[in-house]
Symmetry: C2
Subunit: 219 residues, 2 copies
DNA sequence: TCTCTTTCGTTGGAATTCCAACAGAATTAT
DNA sequence: ATAATTCTGTTGGAATTCCAACGAAAGAGA
């Protein structure tokens, strides 16, 4: 666990927690780690979860597949970030999404109830963690609201522009990289890959943007 | 404020709070009420909010309008429910949505920071409220995820079926009422109203469902 | 370096949505 | 009760997306 302390101290769940408190905290919470290979399913759609995860290394995606084989990507989550926290907190009976690894990954798992309920040791950090968790879940809601802004656009062109504008704003530059390949971007925008490529080419020909692989520039 | 105690004690923010504690709690939090007429804007897109609202009576919608005049409805919220809590908790600088009343409404406003930070009186309910708020924000997260499930479908037919199936599940019956008129339903599903009506007619002719106004039955 | 696999962009046809316009039904206001 | 307004469903054409197929470019593995 020590090898990941550098990662963990940057996790916003632990904001305001002294570095020296991290190890006892994780012990108190019975946190566990697990290694996953690329392409493995961490949480299956339909299951009930009580633990959420933190990505120590690697990358995961939150996805939903329909019966026709269309995949929707809800989010891509990298090192130092959390996943599944809302479902674990709400104690939902059937997870509506799956969580899969897109690279080999080390993941940390924490039981939500143990975090939220003060233990017999009356550890002082429980209330700090709950405050932090409230802030994190609120921020996730804002990200989901932004995703709805994108998926509720009527045309592929509008979805692309909404997404790329948001990425530019996040990068504070009109030159930025996106974290998806073409198929993943199409799945994130819920459109068809080849039609999206055609639309990207049109946008370039119209002088709206330039791109090369995952590098984009808004003009 | 007394007239709404019956409503307030059912609000899940106050779960586990004694009815006798409600009035002092609201005083401690400097909660305020306001009356809005139908069609008024409660929160404007772009503003920064520190307070969230509780609907005492009436109904509000969370919406987003684009420059072409297309409206997306994110949610419709009625009596006894909260709105804006994720944005207030996260202290976001620019609200990405607007909140408007669809009927005359009485709304209660609570400052998120006052709720989350124990006051000088060391009132005991702050930690209970934060636990409740975490649960509520998590549940909102799940509702947003369910909305993305709908808006990420590729066809109007699929969006309708996804939405109506979810409403049936919520009603625990294949006969149920939906809370929208046709234009509102189209805005909620992010599709065009007349095309959606045509698709509803097709679904009825295909023997998939029956409907009359806002009454639906899945076959 | 070569071979195999994956990714990306293009294309044309089928499917679907959007849009404007309209008429009739339902609702609201007088 | 009547008039005005709003809501709903229909229609046809334009616009757009999906889809399958394909070839070229890029990347990975031997």
């Amino acid at each position: 666990m020590k090898k990941y302390l550098d990662v963990l101290k940057e996790v916003n769940l632990f904001t305001g927690i002294e570095e020296s408190e991290l190890q006892p905290l994780l012990s108190c919470l019975s946190a566990t780690t697990a290694h996953y290979e690329k392409g493995q399913t961490v949480f299956f759609s339909g299951q009930s979860i009580k633990q959420f995860g933190i990505v120590l290394s690697g990358q995961i995606q939150v996805v939903q597949d329909d019966y026709q084989g269309n995949r929707s990507i809800f989010a891509k989550i990298g090192s130092g970030n959390m996943f599944g926290e809302s479902f674990a907190c709400a104690e939902i009976k059937t997870l509506p999404v799956s969580v899969i690894t897109t690279t080999g990954s080390e993941l940390l798992f924490i039981d939500c109830r143990r975090l939220a309920v003060p233990c017999t040791k009356a550890c002082s950090f429980h209330s700090r963690l709950i405050q932090n968790l409230l802030n994190i879940v609120s921020m996730k809601n804002i990200l989901l609201t932004q995703k709805i802004e994108i998926t509720s656009k009527r045309t592929t062109r509008e979805k692309l522009l909404a997404y790329l504008s948001a990425e530019a704003k996040k990068a504070r530059s009109n030159r930025f990289n996106i974290p998806f390949n073409r198929q993943e971007l199409a799945d994130y925008l819920s459109v068809e890959r080849s039609a999206m490529s055609a639309e990207l080419s049109k946008l370039r020909n119209d002088g709206v943007l330039n791109f090369h692989k995952n590098q984009f520039q808004l003009l």
